[in-house]
């Protein structure tokens, strides 16, 4: 089960954070922060070889003792990072990628909301519900 999903914008600050349980959020913040370097490293290593039409999915970034960290970068340099419980069986790459594509689609809908200024941290209900369903489904 995914324990944390974070959306990081181009300026490298978290736009949206969601974690279960909520108390460990600070710990997840530091884990995701350290993984940002790895995302950049993997993307530059992949180069143009695996450019998907929607975004680059380097997949598993690194495993820690408790969690596995997965990353995804869109064409607009928005990064999605998710932490998954290590105790679960290994996930196939395309499962993780399809989860990220759903997140990406939801995110583009959120950015089309005309009211908040770009970069405002908001918690839109529809996006929240979608993330909840993804977090409980991936297992």
């Amino acid at each position: 089960m995914a324990v944390c999903i974070m959306v990081i914008v181009k300026e490298n600050y978290p736009f949206y954070v969601r974690s279960i349980p909520v108390e460990n959020e600070l710990k997840f913040h530091s884990v995701v922060h350290t993984s940002l370097d790895l995302v950049d490293e993997k993307i530059s290593a992949m180069g143009k070889a695996l450019v998907d039409q929607r975004g680059l999915c380097p997949g598993l970034l690194y495993p820690t003792e408790d969690y596995k960290v997965y990353g995804y970068v869109t064409n607009s340099k928005v990064k999605f990072v998710t932490l998954v419980d290590s105790s679960n069986t290994a996930h196939r790459d395309n499962e993780i990628c399809s989860m990220f594509w759903k997140l990406h689609n939801s995110y583009t809908d959120v950015t089309c909301n005309p009211f908040p200024n770009p970069g405002d941290r908001i918690r839109p209900r529809v996006f929240d519900n979608m993330v909840t369903s993804l977090m409980t489904q991936v297992c």
């Binding site: 809908d109 959120v110 089309c112 909301n113 005309p114 009211f115 908040p116 839109p124 209900r125 529809v126």
Partner: protein, 180 residues
């Protein structure tokens, strides 16, 4: 605008730019006016201007016959006009209460597709007031006075979006009795 009068059904076009433009318009009005009532009023006024002009294009494109009842008019608006311009067909429930009040029920409102919920402090904003103005302006150009308002709005938490049209009696239609 209408070069060919017999275009047939409009091709499916990407409406995202239109939806985003409308969103930007409402957002700008919200920045310009503090009160929700003012924003609603100006959206309605703009819609009225659009409606008085759009009706010509609509009549040319659709070549509908003359309507003989308010119910026919409402059905034409729902089944032809909304279909052409927004790509959705609202349902018109049978309104038994009176013969000049009708509702258009929209399950999915394309204009507010990307707006999840109204922003804080704007709870009485009618996001799609423009539509009310358009319907009102169009009806007035065909000599039908009507009051068009939003009865239910999905953005405010209702289950559907409902537009109410109340046809008003025309003063010119009164028969003047000659004094005997």
């Amino acid at each position: 605008m209408s070069q060919e009068f017999n275009r047939g059904p409009a091709p499916q076009q990407n409406k995202d730019l239109f939806i985003l433009t409308y969103g930007a318009l409402v957002a700008q009005l919200c920045k310009d006016y503090e009160k929700d009532e003012d924003v609603n009023k100006y959206l309605d006024k703009m819609g009225y201007g659009i409606g008085t002009r759009l009706v010509e294009d609509f009549l040319a494109q659709s070549s509908v016959r003359r309507c003989h009842s308010y119910s026919e008019v409402t059905h034409i608006i729902a089944e032809v006009a909304f279909k052409i311009y927004l790509g959705v067909t609202p349902s018109v429930p049978c309104n038994n209460s009176s013969r000049n009040e009708f509702s258009l029920i929209l399950d999915k409102n394309p204009l507010s597709e990307f707006v999840g919920e109204l922003p804080a402090g704007r709870s009485s904003l009618c996001y799609c007031s423009l539509l009310c103005g358009i319907i009102r302006g169009a009806l007035e150009m065909v000599h039908l006075a009507a009051d068009v308002t939003f009865l239910q709005d999905k953005l405010k938490g209702d289950s559907v979006t409902e537009i109410g049209i109340t046809f008003l009696k025309q003063p010119e239609e009164k028969k003047y009795r000659r004094k005997k």
